[in-house]
Subunit: 379 residues, 2 copies
């Protein structure tokens, strides 16, 4: 079986590495001159609307999946016309590509979000601010990732600057949620409709970029885990989803609010390669390949640290017991995710003891360390 | 860093899959028209003595390693002339390619073996039988794997038939060891001379082919483990070895006898992908790439079952909790290893409970099951 993957970034790379042991082959599609699946799988290079290139890509594929949510509808249409099944289904892309539709979809399926108002003009923005109060976050409805395409409004004076920065495209104003912490849940749904969920994890972002994930999140009651799983299950069922998806959540006073959904494997699930019985990558591949899903059980506890901008001393990282290095073969560049490290240990106290060794070799901000210390105190 | 690998079989495939997360690139060399690293790494195709092809292969490589012990000395010479470092060192190939040299080398370094006598003529064979007694095993000194190139002699009438079958090439007669069980140890040595060992594992062979590996072997005393580690450490140090090696052992009355050594990752170490903190494949790559070795600690307990000849129902295997499928993308053919399954569980009783589920979908002989039951009773 040959699986086609739209996008040859690190997520595609890790999908292929998880799928090879299942005896599957991979073919990638990406317009960039160099991508990080080059060298470990074949690739067709072409623009997202290049029908001829997409048809070459489609030839002989059993199924097509993707590693990023901004796949154009036109790309999917061309591939389906060429006879390819594309999974997760198109509806998941439509919902997740537009923050307004996404939030409405969540609410429609009983999943709470921050309050939000669509904004298409400066006067809309003023009315939205009047309704939601400040602070609030103005975001583009489409595009935007890793903190791009959003502006925080703290006083009404910020309205003009926020509008001048983002105005002229469909926007959404979201009420600011004074959350206690950021969590996420990664779930997989197979072709038979069975859903499995990984434990809730706790995330630390800085400058809009994920820095650290703690798996499992500490102090998660059975009710909270169940609430996360119920939200994921409802959303995936409503989308007739096949594959892995992630939902970023805010926890406030013991309740969960959905922030956004990714119809793909997710950075906050990278720890599963080393810290779960079956990784999110393998479960995504199992789902789209029509295999039953694997166990999402934890293997010990894990901290995942993204490698951002510059390469650490790999030998130093590799010598920390339980540290697993994952590099994406990407050129270092400021604010670019070029790898991650998962530190795994059988129990929280062993992991806490090894974390300083890792922190010494990975570029963590004092605020990241402070955040990590807060999490560790609760493990 | 680009690592060259001689041989594109399943061991090469698993080396690449373990090395990609470290940010390394791979190039394979193999004379066969199709090998199972095709599609996931570049390959130069050429004969083992094709200097021009080997030089193309060598171009830009940082280090060359191999996945089989029968690499011709000429191949290594050509690569070294082309400026490549080849690891493990040539001496390891010389020793492991010849059963006589190998056994002498073991004995010279304080590692016991079965008694043995070189045989170059039928009269040598008669004298050797007189000295070692019967039963005994006549083997070719070079070549031979998975039980090929050997004949068991039970009565003196077998001398003529054994000679007619194998005579005309350098041979060795080995005294028959009435061993209690077959064990093996996988060890790694880095460039700084540090050695790490995995726990002793217990193996079940049938028709000369490994069927099952139990990790760890049950009933291993600290003394027995230490004795295995001491043997591996002495041999690797004497060879100035860099990389992973395996030693197959017989246990008899609590003592270990070395049977043979493989200067490469080994089938009895495949369970380490899913059942150890660092896999044998990653540790081999770490060693040759100059990185420190990773922890060989167990993660729970594992049984590895080879997939031989025919493909099992992958969906059925994938639905057994804790079963990890590893297929090599090889065409099924009788007696051919085309994949393996590692069944992993946190503890022996959980694993024992799941083993029948696996046995139901993998083609195990009644004798394999009996052997497995004997091992499980001791876990």
């Amino acid at each position: 079986m040959i699986i086609g993957v739209l996008g040859g970034g690190q997520l595609g790379r890790m999908l292929a590495l998880a799928g090879y042991p299942l005896g599957l082959r991979f073919r990638f599609y990406d317009p960039e001159p160099e991508v990080c699946t080059d060298g470990l799988a074949e690739r067709v290079r072409g623009a997202w609307d290049d029908a001829a290139a997409l048809e070459r890509f489609a030839d002989g594929l059993d199924v097509v999946t993707y590693e990023f949510e901004n796949v154009p509808a036109e790309t999917v249409r061309i591939l389906e016309l060429a006879g390819c099944e594309v999974l997760p289904p198109q509806r998941a892309l439509e919902v997740s590509q537009d923050r307004l539709i996404e939030k409405q979809f969540c609410n429609d399926h009983g999943v709470a979000t921050a309050p939000f108002v669509p904004v298409d003009s400066e006067s809309d923005l003023r009315a939205a601010v009047a309704r939601l109060g400040l602070p609030a976050v103005l975001k583009t409805r489409r595009g935007g990732y890793d903190g791009k395409g959003q502006v925080v409004l703290r006083t009404s004076a910020d309205i003009v600057t926020a509008w001048s920065e983002l105005g002229g495209q469909p926007l959404i104003l979201e009420g600011f949620v004074p959350f206690d912490r950021e969590l996420s849940i990664v779930a997989a749904r197979d072709r038979a409709g069975r859903v499995v969920c990984y434990p809730l994890v706790q995330n630390i972002h800085r400058d809009g970029i994920l820095r650290l994930t703690f798996a499992p999140a500490p102090n998660v009651t059975a009710e909270l885990q169940q609430s996360g799983e119920a939200a994921a299950t409802r959303i995936l069922a409503a989308l007739e989803y096949v594959g892995v998806a992630a939902i970023e959540l805010f926890e406030r006073d013991g309740a969960l609010l959905a922030n956004e959904m990714a119809p793909r494997v997710h950075n906050s699930g990278h720890w599963t390669i080393d810290g779960a019985v079956t990784s999110q990558f393998e479960n995504h591949i199992r789902a789209v390949a029509g295999l039953p899903l694997g166990s999402t059980e934890l293997r010990g506890v894990s901290v995942m640290a993204n490698i951002i901008g510059t390469l650490p001393d790999v030998a130093a990282v590799a010598s920390v017991p339980g540290a697993h290095v994952h590099l994406y073969d990407k050129a270092p560049r400021p604010a670019r995710k070029i790898g991650h490290i998962t530190l795994n240990a059988p129990d929280p106290s062993t992991l806490a003891a090894r974390l300083p060794e890792l922190a010494a070799v990975v570029d963590l901000d004092p605020s990241d360390r402070e955040g990590a210390d807060r999490v560790l105190r609760h493990w």
